[in-house]
């Protein structure tokens, strides 16, 4: 029991590594704040292209993109872009390649969620809006999209949570986010306690979001 405490719940080590891990947590947060809007934004554009543009070729390309990046392992994608880009002659800054990798991956998931959302809005909504003279674009912005987003809010939040957890993959390309910080501290102290502390920090960050998600899901369930 003492060995367990010393190895996993070592308070002395917690105290020592806390500032370092908090810095890692901060990196996780801002990395999430960077890649989630990028992925959600691109995903939304893809969903609009797939549902509102009457062009078979575009729809086919979007479907191909979404299929490919949902099937391609994000860790491999990240390594591929990070280590492969220089060979292709692209001088991407570290953060740029990480952001690109996450964006390519999570935009494919966001695209599917938004597509479902746009599909859930009855056709009559668009007809009513267009009949009053609203352009296709304004109809999308003021009528279709707000309803679509609201209809898939739990799924969007679920995606956000997945992406936050996925940012730990950036540790393989040496970005000192929370997991990387914890692993560094672990090897410094020859003790896995910092990883447990990192898990606690992840929980503290994600628990409120998961609670909110349950709340939204219950509300959606009771509304139907």
């Amino acid at each position: 029991m003492d060995a367990l405490l010393a190895n996993f719940l070592n308070v002395a080590i917690y105290k020592e590594v806390a500032p370092y891990l908090l810095q890692g947590l901060w990196t996780t947060i801002w990395l999430s704040l960077l890649v989630i809007p990028l992925g959600a934004g691109l995903g939304l554009v893809l969903a609009i292209l797939a549902t509102k543009v009457n062009n078979r070729g575009i729809r086919w390309l979007v479907a191909l993109y979404v299929d490919f990046f949902r099937a391609f392992p994000p860790l491999v994608l990240l390594i591929f872009i990070y280590f492969g880009a220089p060979f292709l002659g692209w001088e991407l800054p570290k953060l740029g390649s990480i952001a690109l990798g996450f964006m390519l991956n999570n935009s494919s998931y966001f695209a599917e969620v938004f597509r479902a959302g746009l599909g859930s809005v009855p056709r009559g909504q668009e007809e009513a809006a267009r009949s009053t003279g609203l352009s296709a674009w304004k109809t999308l912005v003021y009528v279709t999209l707000p309803q679509a987003t609201r209809n898939v809010l739990p799924d969007l939040l679920g995606n956000v949570i997945e992406v936050i957890k996925m940012t730990s993959l950036a540790s393989v390309v040496a970005l000192p986010e929370l997991l990387k910080a914890a692993r560094d501290a672990q090897s410094m102290f020859y003790n896995p306690s910092p990883v447990i502390l990192a898990a606690l920090l992840y929980l503290a960050l994600l628990w409120p979001l998961v609670r909110l998600l349950s709340h939204l899901e219950n509300r959606r369930f009771s509304n139907r």
């Binding site: 009559g124 009949s131 009053t132 003279g133 707000p146 309803q147």
Partner: protein, 248 residues
């Protein structure tokens, strides 16, 4: 120009087909200012398709749709501009569920016609007063009865001060006891001089309020005339058969 004789809506040889099936086989129809025209006929007769072609929610395959002097079927027409002159009321109301009543009525006033929030609200409240719902401005659509929702739908259409309002079976989705309130609002609208083209199954309303009744069947206008003539002494066999079915 003699405005009294100048039709607000004129359909000339309107045709529409889905694949091989022709649903409108050359419709000619004129609606004059201040006129209330009811379109009746069996389901599948093409009356809703015709109505939805009038503001090009559905594309026609041929013919002309002239609204207030503009041919909607002509290439390069500014559809969003012409549609402001053509209000539309839907069978399923189609209110925006994410906006309250005032938001439903002010949306196009603000985003299409460019009124300020205050001015749009003023115009919206006036429109809501005309349908007897000024006190529901802050309510959400889901909290209203079907009849109230449809009256908001009418307010949304008339707030833009259209030249004509199209009604697509406005009472068909309502519980019987709520139909009367909507028909009453439509009658008041007619008395205020609004031009209206109404596709309906409400024969009593058509007979009592319409200036003219159009009977459609099989994608053509079979017969039209004053309500007393159509309901009292229909000339065509198809009209007689239809009226016998629905009025017995």
């Amino acid at each position: 120009m003699n405005t009294a004789a100048y039709p607000i809506l004129e359909l000339v040889g309107l045709r529409k087909h889905y694949g091989d099936q022709e649903v409108l086989k050359g419709i000619d129809l004129r609606v004059r200012p201040g006129e209330l025209v009811c379109v009746i006929g069996p389901s599948g007769s093409g009356k809703s398709s015709m109505l939805r072609c009038c503001n090009r929610l559905e594309e026609c395959s041929g013919g002309q749709i002239v609204v207030d002097g503009t041919d909607l079927a002509a290439p390069g027409v500014n559809l969003n501009q012409v549609r402001q002159k053509i209000g539309m009321v839907f069978q399923q109301f189609n209110l925006y569920p994410h906006l309250n009543v005032l938001g439903n009525v002010t949306l196009a006033l603000r985003k299409v016609q460019g009124y300020s929030r205050a001015k749009a609200q003023e115009k919206a409240l006036a429109a809501l007063a005309r349908v007897g719902l000024a006190d529901k401005a802050d309510a959400w659509p889901a909290a209203l009865s079907g009849g109230q929702q449809q009256r908001v739908g009418i307010a949304r259409a008339i707030a833009l001060e259209p030249r004509i309002v199209l009604f697509d079976e406005p009472t068909s989705a309502l519980d019987p006891e709520l139909v009367g309130s909507v028909l009453q609002v439509m009658q008041e609208l007619r008395e205020s001089g609004m031009t209206m083209l109404v596709v309906t199954h409400e024969m009593a309303f058509a007979r009592a309020v319409a200036d003219r009744v159009v009977f459609m069947d099989g994608g053509v206008i079979v017969e039209q005339g004053p309500p007393d003539a159509i309901f009292g002494a229909p000339r065509e066999l198809r009209t007689q058969a239809f009226l016998q079915r629905v009025c017995s």
